[in-house]
Amino acid sequence: MTDGSEQLSQAGFAEGDADIWRAFLDREIPLLYGMFMNRWPNPSLAEELVQKTVFDAVRGCGSYDPSKGNPEEWIFGIARNNIRLEMRKRASQPSVNGDISRCLELIDSKPLPNEVLERKETSVIVHSALNRLESKEQAILKAKYIEGLPARDIAQQMGVKEKAVHNLLYRARISLREELKRIVSLHKKE
């Protein structure tokens, strides 16, 4: 990009030009997600922090000063600030102290702490629980939660009606919950 067009694009960015912002976010969201995932291997938290960073940037776009750096540096500054806030929040929360099976047993009633989601052990438990499900149940859970597809798109992919997708999703969630509880109880006995 030449200096002139870069300046023009930075001015458009500060003014909130929709096309410039669309291209910018399309480029930066995966990078921000990668940055948060490197810090905490927790996709839900990474999505939450990316969302917070993007909205902080949108709301503060009027305060962007091109003389202090390009938009990429600016949004990464906001992201680093959000990491600091998250670290501060974690410092004030009690630690799980290794008892992740207790947390997994309570998935029906309490939100899972991020600390539990970031343990390698939790990933292993989830992976083996998913592998024990029927292939259709595995596919629907991955399509819904990993690919983030809406029920209509899943129905098209699987060649079934939308209602059938909701039913299958409901059954798959119950099966996964039971498998998780079974694996956790086995871990406890060991």
């Binding site: 909130g16 929709a18 399309d26 995966p30 927790n42 996709p43 709301r59 939100p111 991955k142 990993i146």
Partner: protein, 107 residues
């Protein structure tokens, strides 16, 4: 979404090794962010329009005050000039009266 569904969603996402956000999330986030950006721009415009309405009112008030001031200055200055002529007429009249009186006495 119940607590259980929320937790299941967070757990299933752990099985994704791609280290990349899913396309649906990116698309939805971009659309929401652009929607927010548009709203902010509209709010900013409305604020500017509000300010300019006040500015217009203040401008009209200033113009009216300036016109009143000019009218007052012209009127006062005209009255002062009239006052000067009246004084001159009084002085001249007095002077001629004296001349007439003295002339009467001499002749």
């Amino acid at each position: 979404m119940t607590q259980s569904d929320e937790n299941i969603s967070r757990l299933v996402k752990l099985d994704d090794d791609s280290n990349k956000p899913n396309k649906a999330f990116v698309k939805s986030l971009i659309n929401n962010a652009l929607g927010e950006l548009k709203q902010l721009k509209i709010a900013k415009k409305q604020e500017i329009m509000k300010v300019s309405w006040w500015e217009k009112a203040a401008g009209w008030a200033a113009m009216f005050a300036a016109a009143c001031g000019a009218w007052l200055a012209i009127t006062v200055s005209a009255l002062l000039k009239i006052n000067f002529f009246l004084e001159a007429i009084v002085v001249l009249t007095t002077f001629f009266n004296w001349l007439t009186y003295l002339g009467g006495r001499v002749l």
